[in-house]
């Protein structure tokens, strides 16, 4: 495995990172516009169990405290994929083991601000980028946008309908979500567009939505068989990758996946967490697909909190 230089990571070399809290991002080199680097932030809401994802199998207390949920490494006949002599990767995350070998995947354990056991507050800290979330009103990615993107509403996209806190603030951001409503007919859209001409907020958002929809239609047409498939995180991630890969596309994307609050029925290999890890790993692979050409300028941060 190629060792990861922390500075290189911060300055936009390729990487997938699973991090327990926001610690490293302010150094990210996005300060020059126009920006060619891509940043994807994947919020794992509910508190992903980091010790299940990357287990410290060699820690003497791990087996004692975790009991039957403590997996053992392959060298001991268990399912954990050894990352080194101390940590092992959950078998459902096997699809991203290759990225680890390349030096592109850096797990970061146990970083953050002092816990107070509130997911609510911890997510606020994570999204506002301040140990006291009451001190700042906007999300840290919105502050990044204010610095690098000016008023370009196409610079960042959230994969979902509502804009998460991390992106909220004065800088305009785009949103994208798969559609189930029938698209409004073109003549109707034209009437509405005319009606919004005196309303900057509605007019800007509508124009951007129309542009994104056209772009998506183009992307999906290029891949027969995509239509009708379920919109899970994997497909959303692939779509985000395609958006970011486009030369005129956004440079920042935010994805979210809830359901990590696996207090009950978490399981070890099976249970609730196994399928979540499978989906996560497949999503990270799917995201990379369209981004391969710009992968050395892309940072993907998968981030969670535990209160």
């Amino acid at each position: 495995m190629t060792p990861i230089d922390r500075r290189a990571f911060l300055h936009g070399s390729a990487g997938l990172s699973i991090s327990a809290a926001l610690a490293t991002m302010p150094g990210l080199a996005l300060a020059r516009a126009p920006v060619s680097q891509r940043l994807v932030v994947l919020m794992l809401r509910g508190g992903m169990d980091g010790l299940a994802a990357v287990a410290p199998y060699a820690d003497v207390n791990f087996k004692r405290i975790r009991g039957p949920f403590a997996l053992t490494p392959r060298s001991d006949g268990g399912p954990l994929i050894e990352l080194d002599e101390f940590f092992g990767l959950h078998p459902a995350l096997a699809p991203i083991y290759g990225a680890y070998e390349e030096g592109h995947f850096l797990p970061v354990h146990a970083v953050g601000v002092s816990p107070n056991r509130s997911h609510f507050r911890a997510q606020d800290v994570l999204e506002r980028g301040d140990p006291d979330p009451n001190d700042v009103a906007d999300g840290w990615l919105n502050r990044v946008l204010q610095q690098v993107a000016g008023s370009d509403p196409g610079a960042a996209v959230t994969m979902g309908r509502a804009i998460p806190k991390i992106l909220r603030g004065p800088a305009l951001v785009g949103s994208w979500a798969p559609v189930r409503l029938s698209p409004a007919p073109a003549d109707f859209l034209e009437s509405v567009r005319a009606n919004y001409s005196g309303d900057a907020l509605l007019a800007t958002a509508l124009s951007q939505g129309i542009r994104l929809r056209a772009e998506t239609a183009r992307l999906l047409d290029a891949e027969p068989g995509q239509a009708g498939k379920q919109w899970n995180l994997v497909r959303v991630a692939e779509t985000a990758g395609a958006f970011l890969a486009a030369s005129e596309g956004p440079r920042i994307a935010v994805l979210q996946r809830g359901g990590w609050d696996t207090h009950a029925g978490q399981g070890a290999v099976g249970g609730r967490i196994g399928p979540l890890f499978t989906e996560l790993a497949q999503a990270l692979v799917a995201l990379r697909g369209p981004l391969q050409a710009v992968w050395d300028k892309t940072v993907v941060v998968a981030i969670t909190e535990f209160g």
Partner: protein, 149 residues
Amino acid sequence: VFLRTGGDLRAIALAIISEPAAWQHYFSKVRTPIELIVSAARATGFHERDSERLFDLSEQLGQRPFDAKSPAGFPDRCEDWMGGQAVLERVDFCAEFAATDVRSVHPATLARDILRPQASAATLTAITRAPSRAHAIGLMLASREFQRR
């Protein structure tokens, strides 16, 4: 008022609606998806038995009732609902709702009753001149006067 009356709800309610600030800043906010859907349903005489349909529509516009993704609840700043895709889907909703869910409503009367006195002449004219009844009702629901509150 709360302290003075020992928490008399009637006195508090009267104080709130007597406060001039409560009557200013019309149209400074945008309706949330649920507000939009409920208003659209109420404006067009939607029947209660179809409430499941409204629930489904709320989910499609990203605000499934009682299911906020954050413990803080749904966002309450209008910018948070104003992503490009989100606004376009609100427009989709208005077109689809007008075409499939609204029965026997006269668009011009509806626009007069619902949108006036706030509606601009341009909006009323556009509704009157729309190519079809569904288009007219959809446009009324999608109009900036109806989207805002």
